[in-house]
Symmetry: C2
Subunit: 558 residues, 2 copies
Amino acid sequence: MSLYEKHRLLLEAAIEALHARTFYAAFPENPSPKTYGETADADGKTAFEAALGKPFAGLLQANADTWAGEETSPYTQESLNVSYPIYSTATLIDNAKSSQKSWAKASAETRAGILVESLMRMQSRFFEIAYATMHTTGQGYMMAFQASGPHAADRALEAIAAGYEELKRFPDATLWDKPMGKFNIQLNKTWRAVPKGVSLVVGCSTFPTWNTVPGMYASLMTGNPVIVKPHPKAVLPIAIVIAELQAVLKENGFAPEVCQLAADTQNHLITKELAEHQDIKLIDYTGGSVFGNYLETLHNKTIFTEKAGVNSVILDSVTDLDAVLNNLAFSVCLYSGQMCTAPQNFFVPSTGVKTPNGQVSFEEVAEKFAACLRGVTQNPKAAPFVLGAIQNPATSERIHNVNGLGSAIVLASEKLENPQFPNARTATPVILKVKATDKAVFSKELFGPIALLIETENTAQSVALAKEMALEHGAISCGAYTTDAKTQEFIMDEMAEACTPVSFNLTGGIYLNQHASFSDFHVTGGNPAGNASFTNPEYVIKRFTWVGFRQPVEAAAV
Amino acid sequence: MSLYEKHRLLLEAAIEALHARTFYAAFPENPSPKTYGETADADGKTAFEAALGKPFAGLLQANADTWAGEETSPYTQESLNVSYPIYSTATLIDNAKSSQKSWAKASAETRAGILVESLMRMQSRFFEIAYATMHTTGQGYMMAFQASGPHAADRALEAIAAGYEELKRFPDATLWDKPMGKFNIQLNKTWRAVPKGVSLVVGCSTFPTWNTVPGMYASLMTGNPVIVKPHPKAVLPIAIVIAELQAVLKENGFAPEVCQLAADTQNHLITKELAEHQDIKLIDYTGGSVFGNYLETLHNKTIFTEKAGVNSVILDSVTDLDAVLNNLAFSVCLYSGQMCTAPQNFFVPSTGVKTPNGQVSFEEVAEKFAACLRGVTQNPKAAPFVLGAIQNPATSERIHNVNGLGSAIVLASEKLENPQFPNARTATPVILKVKATDKAVFSKELFGPIALLIETENTAQSVALAKEMALEHGAISCGAYTTDAKTQEFIMDEMAEACTPVSFNLTGGIYLNQHASFSDFHVTGGNPAGNASFTNPEYVIKRFTWVGFRQPVEAAAV
């Protein structure tokens, strides 16, 4: 049985799910022993620990002269001492090009079979990937497992499904039969989906698989060889995924270099060299806006970006203010605000928030929000796992600078004790009060656990500012709370014009930071936060070109 | 019955045709009295003549202060003396924006109904449009009727169908129901396809409706108001289309300014002003590469271009050389080579072309080709209609300059007598012989009836040069003649990499210049000839953004 046949039903279910957009997941998100086996977690931890202090094992790509690695655990501050093969840009491009023709000529079925199979192999290493993710990104265990494992694999499957569907959207061949009155003109026509060329996927330090696999699998599914350039501080999780994929490629007669790991080091970063190389035709990028904006100016390349955004919460009216603020406090705490979907700007009218028990003043909302945050951060059983650690020292720096601003602080950031990892780099969220007129303060992304309570004249101004932030500085998520249907419609109309998805009235165990595969389009592509969207049709269609051939029926060459 | 219901079956048939890609046409291409009525042609001619010398009647858009027009008939050299309303860029943008919200909020069904109805109104004026096209572009009567009438309407319908399908590809609403073990999380989710914004469609002087309506209808279908900026020398045909559309918009409660005609004059061209305006979010452009390349560099806009290309014919082996050369001669003569799909570079090995009767030498192919061309141009019953007139004096100039190159001329260009229009600007095709080493001569588009016979070492070099021309300078069509299946596969592989469609072994009444709606993708978007393709999914998807909204089932606002 071919790999395509082996995975056909899954692929079909995934395509159906893309269009139903109801809940769907191919990879269980619960790291339960019942699902993954009694020893899966311990085995994964052992495998992770066994990998430390060595050259990374398992890649099948061409040998490299040099090996290097620079990862440090945000939990222990110790180097992982894992090294990866280091190549010149020219070698990476040459290797990709030498693998290009056979992958381009492979059928959509062949590619889909290999790619889905690689996700199954990845699944067998979800726990190892989870520990690798914790100790590179600082994510808590649960998020590290879910985001880098099942959620990433689901996003990869989504890209495979979307790509496969688009490749099958037009016939391979047809008879064009035009009646001309006394006779017909008949042409045999065929079409090919021609891959764009070598694809570069640039990863980030906070979500090393989740933000990398969509572009990687979208490019591979549509026939393009891929060079994955991870962040030098977060290589191991994606190296494991690539090693598994290379094994499946090789088993099926393709060069492992169809997908290469291109690690680099801080003293010789190669992203710019790669991106500007004339043979790189596709670029996927997750990271800061300055570099993303530069990439978007490169000519004769197709660019997909996910950059910084300023995410807003609009508080108008609620049925249960405590439930709302508890939900938002958790959103701010989750991975210490280091998610691209984390809320930053909380717009509250100076007249306060409407509740069934009357108006709750701005000051009271601020106090209650601080109390809710303390409720999370002072819960020793949960806090270390929810907040995780701070990936980048620069983020800690930013929080401390904000703390130093003085009088406007509602709640100061503190170090969070982590009993398991006493050296963990941690910081509880800081809440600042800001006037709507102090636009300079809230008009940029303050990456990390920083929440700004912005006092506005009324909800109309809250919406106008949230819209302006999204249009000018980008936004990937938005939360809004209103019990009034007209206000809700108004918010939808306005935020739609800023191409920002809105979660309304979330309370309980669902958070505005969470974007579900097969249902929520992640990043819309419509505002400065990025031009990519996991996974809409545009995300895969732009990776290939339809080319047609035709000839008279009687003239077929022999 | 709504307009959507009225046209629903047609729309469904068009969507089906997009995917079957067999022959399909909604608008009959034969201007026969049986189809269009006994008096249709005469009525159209009368209507055209009645429009001359007056301000153009029928537009419903806001009044303008000034009116102007600069069209001259390539057949009579006389001014049409039709004037059109002239607006400032600011007024055009303001008018578009004031019509924007209601059009964006209209359902896909409402928009599709209105747009298909407008094509029916356009159909009622096909003959008038044909005469307007003849006397602005110089096209012969039959091409003017077909290209500006039924073929353009079919391409418009194709854009409507593709846009409608994409808007319906995801649900408006769904229930997201996630099992969490002991309970489910349920979210009501909705999605909107948010239009990108004001759309600018820039027309060309040779195909004023055919090259304009795809972008115009694609933008309108996806909810964007459109400003149509025609070439100042070819306004009347598209003005008629816009007037009919504005009438349907108004009848259905929408502002006519949803689609505005934005004529300009040579002494104040407004394309650059419009294109650079921050409120223009989408640009469709047909025309020269220099301006097209400039447009493609504009930031924060979605650009669709069709620019110049260098189209090749590869001659390797044939079963009937006369049939082949007659077919190619007609391709060169059709509208005097002023089609973006017209062949220019004919690659022939120095050893000649293989035929069932042996090798026919390069020189003999050149002589036979010249004879075939004379066969078309010296047929007084056909030539004036096939060749039409030269739209632009600069094209005549180019032909004369080429004539003056001297010894390499196989066939010189001559004036073609047109008994009906003695003042017609005409030129029969010139054939030049060029060495494969004289790359400077054939590495650019020589717009007009200019054919270059390029002597190559062998077919491999012919293919390499055709591929290089396409990759470096763009190509929209390619013809290839081979009786060998391996050579054909080789040509397909190579030209696919240059994203150029190839017509193989065409003889008889079908020409490589002809791209059929609902079957042939026109321009692939994959080489420098342009980044647009009539009509693939990308052509419509990039005109809107998917934005999602969600809220807990129990939390619906009231």
